[in-house]
Point group: C2
């Protein structure tokens, strides 16, 4: 059969992996799709950069439009990153009837709906398995594996950098600043780590998972986000003593026609399967009404794991090409759901308060909880030799986010409270 | 669009779940497939048995042939179990151009190749996600998610009954016999537990996973099997002290044109992700050349988890029906691989020997290892207050199965060894 010709946008880490797999597994791949797969043209930043793979230099161009406009090319594999410019390339490629495989979470989180609508109009495939959780086939799982079920909850460790930092802090008792510096030296964290450590990267991935899991449009701005830069090694030690780990968890929940979605450092019970996901690994825990608890674990980034997902998508596109059914299995969210109000989002909370060390303080504090309708699971008051204030540790029962916000507001007015040192959502 | 009509063979646990999901999620399902799904006829053992779901009695029949021969029916969902008779139903349904969804691991392990060949001939779909690991979409993952990769190793906890027993033995220090009895009372183990506890059920599932993972025909007789009935609570305590858990693991490995596959109680390092899979849960660990370590976790059995996979397959069949591409994506193993010889299967071993308590014994034993080319990682000799013999615990480095067999043979001739109390494969 006629070879399928692929245009590659980007030859960085993931692009190199894609070439490696297509070259190295050519025989295997063509046995599955029924024809050779040829990487016809590659758009690169610099044409004469030394590379770890063998590439015919004639295939390289520094102009992505040359790839997009090449009439020989059937499928565009986009692994260059970027949002606005890249969106232009993708839309034009679709306009020309080319199918898309992308690893670009930013693009899909911000413009997924527009891109998928264009794909549907042009009967093209757009696959993006590699955009979330690298080598873990979680997008397929949500679309196909659980097509029969109603997903109730998704919890994800979907950012390797922050999981690496929290794991090191937990296992070695190191400080956030020290581990971040080490992660930067090892290449696990960017020079500007904001997008990772402030939870933005995780939020983008969660909006994609939420859209697929709940079959409704989840926008990036629906995700309430906080990052890990305020997590202290003392918090992690407190958590451990109570039988918890602290993880940056994306948590998406849906009930009837509502959903909530957030990313925040969370205390997760140590016995929960996701609590032992360590280092740069990712995992997505999915709770379905029928299937119950499931979890999917693997490398969330890296050249070869991410390329595995990209090339698996490429195989799917080419199989559809052979059958003439591209674009016909496109999933478009078909449900109208709205964000759950804060008075209907319930979870447990951990609070560490620094308070005046005098009589009656605890009574005042517990009074606030009572007045805000938040019931308490446990309260411990202790002296801290390094701190002239007393410390009070409180774990609540399930309380609404609205009620907890009221508690925190009241705390600001309460003079006996010096400060709310830590506040975590508690799960598991 | 015209409704799709489904014939159901079996209305036991899983069949009931299938009806529950198709009835309860009808709106969701038809949004995805573009037409209503109607369960048209159901073959049951007893037509007047009380049931927990509402079914029009006119749909029930005690004759499966009535379902197979109904010209209105597009898809047969087989959840009745059984091998030879059931195979007859399936082949006849395919002959009549009906697509198949089955949860039947025994059928697929024993006759999968024949059934898939018939399906290809008749351009019909045969999907069987529910046959392995219940609600975990592992078959899709191996076929599609990792289509781009070469799978090197699969380790599976694919039998919930034995995992429940081993978990209880590990967590409560209970004996095999006591936990088995309890599991039988709770309905987690059959009155005749042989198929589960002797590893046969796991072997069937592993042969299916091996076939898909290595893209070659793995026959049931290729699987070397041993069960858990010889696992003692003392073994589990020994394992724990060394930092291991004992799990009934299916282990399939492939390199170049060879593969090995086995099911046996295995000591797995406690830090390995599969070691903390407890109770009736299942998990499949997959190591791919490119993707590296991944693991997929969930309920391995039960009404709703298994039905989730069955109905997800039904959705896939109906989507293919709409597109007119049934049977065209059938995966047929395309690689010729042969079983690895025992001299090329390598793993670590744990041995517990009861030996004469006298001088020179250890020297004789270590001499045997040396002569068989097995090098040792650790050797501990200890007295056991409950045992007049001395105990020697040996952990080997990686050794070939052939060499270890030689060692065990030589031990039989060695008079100082009273008995080889325990012998485990060690992983992780």
């Amino acid at each position: 059969m006629k070879p399928v010709k692929v245009g590659l946008l980007g030859l960085g880490t993931v692009g190199t992996g894609v070439v490696r797999i297509v070259q190295g597994n050519q025989e295997d791949l063509s046995s599955q799709v029924g024809s050779p797969i040829i990487i016809e043209r590659i758009a690169v930043k610099s044409a004469d950069k030394p590379r770890s793979i063998e590439i015919d230099p004639a295939k390289l161009t520094t102009d992505p439009w040359e790839v997009i406009r090449d009439p020989e090319i059937d499928v565009i594999v986009e692994v260059m990153g970027g949002v606005e410019t890249t969106k232009g390339y993708i839309l034009e490629a679709l306009e020309r009837g080319k199918h898309i495989v992308t690893a670009n979470k930013d693009l899909m989180a911000l413009h997924g709906a527009e891109i998928l609508a264009k794909a549907q109009e042009k009967q093209c495939d757009v696959f993006y398995e590699a955009s979330v959780a690298g080598g873990i086939p979680i997008i397929r799982t949500l679309i196909e594996g659980f097509s029969s079920d109603r997903i109730v909850k998704i919890m994800g460790i979907v950012n390797g950098t922050t999981n690496y930092i929290l794991t090191k802090m937990s296992q070695e008792g190191a400080s956030y600043a020290d581990v971040l510096k080490e992660a930067q030296e090892l290449g696990y964290a960017e020079a500007d780590p904001t997008s990772d450590v402030e939870g933005l990267d995780a939020a983008r991935k969660m909006s994609i998972l939420g859209t697929l899991g709940f079959r409704t449009n989840v926008e990036l701005q629906d995700v309430s986000v906080s990052g890990i830069s305020q997590v202290s090694k003392e918090d992690i030690q407190f958590a451990k003593r109570l039988g918890y780990e602290i993880k940056l968890l994306g948590i998406a929940e849906s009930k009837n026609d509502e959903f909530s979605i957030s990313v925040q450092p969370t205390m997760i019970r140590a016995s929960h399967p996701i609590a032992s996901v360590n280092g740069v690994y990712n995992a997505v825990y999915v709770y379905g009404e029928a299937v119950g608890e499931t979890m999917f674990y693997g490398a969330g980034a890296g050249e070869m794991p991410t390329a595995t997902s990209v090339v698996a998508d490429l195989v799917a596109v080419i199989k559809n090409l052979r059958l003439g059914v591209n674009g016909l299995k496109q999933i478009v969210p078909y449900k109208q759901k709205k964000l759950t109000g804060d008075d209907h989002i319930f979870y447990k909370n951990f609070l560490l308060l620094h308070v005046d060390d005098k009589a009656g303080v605890l009574a005042k504090i517990t009074q606030v909880f009572a007045e805000c309708d938040v019931s308490l699971d446990s309260v411990v008051q202790q002296a801290n030799p390094n701190n002239p204030d007393a410390e009070i540790i409180i774990v609540t029962h399930n309380a609404s986010k609205a009620s907890m916000n009221k508690v925190l507001q009241r705390f600001e007015e309460l003079e006996v409270i010096r400060r709310v040192k830590s506040h975590y959502r508690v799960e598991g």
